[in-house]
């Protein structure tokens, strides 16, 4: 027998389904691409610039942190690229370069790496980064101010519909057709306006099992129901529910942000509660809160509730009652 022949030894099970973190990240990137491409189509080269800068700096921040903390290099797993792409999709095409670089720093370093990297973050890093930016540098994230020099011939309104709603009430946005809004003909973030593309990517992720459908569906159903209740109570002050579904960050929040693995629950009822809570908070902030769009803060708050709600779980078998 050849003495050099060694056998591999490990613990059972000896089969694996072949799935992995890179696979999940790259498929989520793939699912987000249509919406990002729609943004490039609407906003042109500046949008492409923001996306490229965001993805590349996100990867660089992660590489830097890996080096500083002397951890294995994890940029290859695609998670940093995904964070970069999603962050760019929330920003306006007019975002200055330093806002993008700061945003990816906040997302990757403050949002994720200081908690130990992937799997350790209590908040969705993309949402945390964007929320800090929108509080600290609101002017640069204001879609109306930022995109004032863009011309939108295809759009029915050249202002952000959700800011118009906040400032002038439902009457000001009543001329907008939901289908146009759903197809992305509205002013907003690079990748967050084209609902059709986002839903397409979301359905792909759900069928591939990369996101948990319970969260997305609960979130959307809850946005619809709570907005419908507000609308029924006073149609002159509160917009109809469908308007809330197709504007702002609602769809990207439901399919790409609230479903982030580490900061969301995994059991059935907690997922439903988590999603529903996010939807209710979104509509509350939009309708009676101080901020224009509630999705970011709603997701941060439900991220906080995640460890608590996830305690609701089925009884394991074989335990004495």
């Amino acid at each position: 027998m050849n003495p050099k022949k060694t056998l591999l030894v490990s613990h059972a099970p000896f089969w694996h389904d072949g799935g992995g973190i890179p696979e999940r990240s790259y498929h989520t990137l793939l699912a987000a691409l249509p919406a990002a491409c729609a943004g490039i189509a609407f906003y042109g080269a500046p949008a492409l610039g923001v996306i490229c800068l965001s993805i590349s700096t996100a990867i660089l921040w992660e590489l830097l942190m890996n080096r500083i903390m002397r951890r294995p290099i994890t940029v290859g797993d695609g998670n940093a690229a995904l964070v970069g792409l999603l962050l760019a999709m929330l920003l306006p095409a007019s975002a200055p370069w330093w806002v993008v670089v700061l945003g990816t720093f906040l997302a990757i370093v403050i949002g994720m790496q200081i908690f130990g990297g992937i799997g350790g973050n209590p908040f969705n890093p993309v949402v945390l980064g964007t929320a800090i930016l929108s509080v600290a540098y609101g002017r640069h994230l204001d879609f109306d101010a930022g995109l004032v020099n863009f011309t939108f011939t295809a759009f029915a309104s050249s202002t952000d519909p959700i800011s118009a709603l906040k400032a002038f009430g439902p009457e000001a946005v009543s001329h907008l057709r939901y289908l146009d809004l759903f197809l992305g003909k509205q002013v907003g973030g690079i990748g967050s306006t084209c609902g059709a593309a986002i839903v397409l990517g979301g359905i792909y992720l759900i069928f591939r099992g990369f996101i948990r459908w319970e969260i997305s569906i609960a979130f959307l159903a809850s946005v619809y129901l709570s907005a419908a209740l507000f609308n029924m109570a006073d149609p002159t002050r509160f917009a109809p529910p469908l308007f809330h579904l197709v504007t702002g960050y609602t769809l990207i929040g439901a399919f790409f942000l609230a479903t982030e693995n580490s900061s969301s629950p995994v059991n059935l009822f907690p997922m439903l509660i988590y999603g529903a809570l996010g939807g209710v908070l979104t509509v509350l902030i939009r309708n009676i809160g101080a901020y224009t769009d509630g999705v970011l803060f709603a997701i941060l708050v439900i991220n906080l509730t995640n460890p608590l709600v996830d305690k609701i779980r089925p009884r394991a078998i074989g335990k004495a009652a």
Partner: protein, 427 residues
């Protein structure tokens, strides 16, 4: 390597091998030049009884010292050529006895004298190392009286045919074995676990309560059957504290055959699964080196392949082709290097795949965080460690490729050690 379903929403679904498949007659492996047997007690240099150069007969009981309870039955006739220490799983120290075989087979007569009067003492003396590896020490333990015997008639893992083959072909021997067990132990309550598809073949024909199980993995895992029988699962004190004791059907068949023939069975049924998934059924002497079996079926093992005792979900990887098959080796599975998925050191990303797939509703995502940190007691008390039925599905689906199953087994072993030590210290 297996592939994840494109539609990731669907759970992985495995089925055990069925007894209804075509019956192939097993290939009898010729007696090898050397066999290695294990006595499950630490090696002592001063053994007066067992020395290299001593000749042994087939079926002879080998002990290091006359009074030792640990013994092994020689599966061949020949001369002892080596006695050495052996380090088994979880750091257990055993003694390996290597015997160079002789062409002329001679049978030892000690058992045929004892076989006239089946008693627990006879069983405990001659059977612990017979095919199926029955454990009688729990029956002799006064602190935890056993009230139910469960005869396990399933295949312990995927791809394996051994369990059901024995059940199908040795049903008379099993029935005889049940009688002997009942008379020797005085335990009235005997159940036999068989696949649901073939219950009609056994109910009424067997002198035991028939406990059916489904064919979907992991319904036939021994812990799953225990749960189906009692609604409970063992904690750190083990199954003994529940008063239930398991025997493999092969062991019961061996007992039945031995008392009928007056001769101890020394051959083990083994399913050999090659790299392409093709299966062969073999009958080999206990102690035959794995290499001899693989050679018989023309299976070549290359550098960095993997050889596994048992099935793909719960087996044990071994490190050498020279290791012998033991009385509990139901299957040998060979994996090519290209089919092996390596574990990684990624942390849990909380994707929830394990939660969806776990048949026992264990909060695996939380449990693994405690086990990784070595906090076994918290894992057991807060996060249902002892509800785990040890099927390995969580590790199968984990995208972070965490060896979850290994953590669970290690935690159970460590807690079991603590519990055992505490029990020993009690006045």
């Amino acid at each position: 390597m297996r592939k994840r379903s494109f539609f990731g929403l669907s759970k992985p679904c495995f089925r055990y091998e069925l007894a209804t498949g075509t019956t192939v007659s097993p290939v009898v492996i010729p007696v090898p030049e050397k066999v290695t047997l294990y006595i499950k007690t630490p090696y002592q240099k001063t053994s007066a009884v067992l020395k290299p150069g001593r000749s042994v007969k087939t079926g002879e009981r080998l002990v290091l010292h006359e009074a030792d309870p640990c013994s092994v039955i020689s599966s061949v006739t020949g001369t002892i050529c080596d006695i050495s220490p052996f380090l088994a799983d979880f750091g257990n120290a055993w003694t390996a006895v290597t015997i160079r075989t002789d062409k002329n087979e001679m049978a030892d007569t000690a058992f045929s004298k004892a076989a006239e009067q089946p008693s627990l003492d006879t069983l405990n003396r001659f059977f612990p190392s017979c095919p199926g590896e029955p454990d009688f020490s729990a029956l002799a333990d006064d602190r935890h009286p056993v009230h139910t015997l469960v005869i396990y008639g399933g295949n312990a893992d995927l791809l394996i045919d051994t369990g059901l083959y024995v059940l199908k072909t040795h049903i008379d021997a099993i029935n005889a074995g049940i009688q002997i067990l009942r008379n020797a132990t005085g335990i009235r309550n005997i159940a036999i676990a068989v696949p649901r598809e073939s219950v009609q073949n056994y109910s009424g024909h067997l002198d035991a309560q028939v406990q059916p199980f489904g064919s979907a993995y992991p319904q036939a895992q021994p812990l799953m059957i225990l749960h189906a029988l009692t609604g409970r699962l063992p904690d750190e004190t083990g199954t003994a504290a529940m008063g239930i004791h398991f025997f493999r059907a092969e062991a019961v068949a061996a007992i039945g055959r031995a008392f009928a023939d007056g001769r101890l069975p020394v051959e083990k049924n083994v399913t050999v699964i090659d790299k392409t998934g093709k299966k062969h059924l073999a009958i080999a002497r206990i102690g035959t080196p794995v290499g001899a079996l693989l050679k018989a079926f023309g299976i070549t093992v290359d550098n960095q392949d993997r050889i596994i005792f048992g099935g793909p979900m719960t087996g044990n990887a071994i490190y050498s082709e020279d290791l012998p098959i033991g009385p509990d080796t139901d299957a040998i599975l060979v994996q090519a290097k290209s089919d092996i998925a390596l574990y990684s050191d990624y942390p849990c990303i909380n994707c929830g795949d394990c939660i969806r797939v776990c048949p026992a509703h264990v909060p695996v995502n939380l449990l693994v965080r405690f086990l990784e940190a070595g906090q076994y007691t918290d894992g057991a008390e807060l996060y249902d460690l002892y509800s785990c039925i040890e099927c390995g599905l969580c590790s199968y689906v984990c995208p972070s490729r965490i060896p979850i199953f290994q953590y669970i087994k290690l935690a159970k072993y460590e807690l079991g050690r603590i519990s055992f030590a505490e029990e020993m210290n009690e006045p």
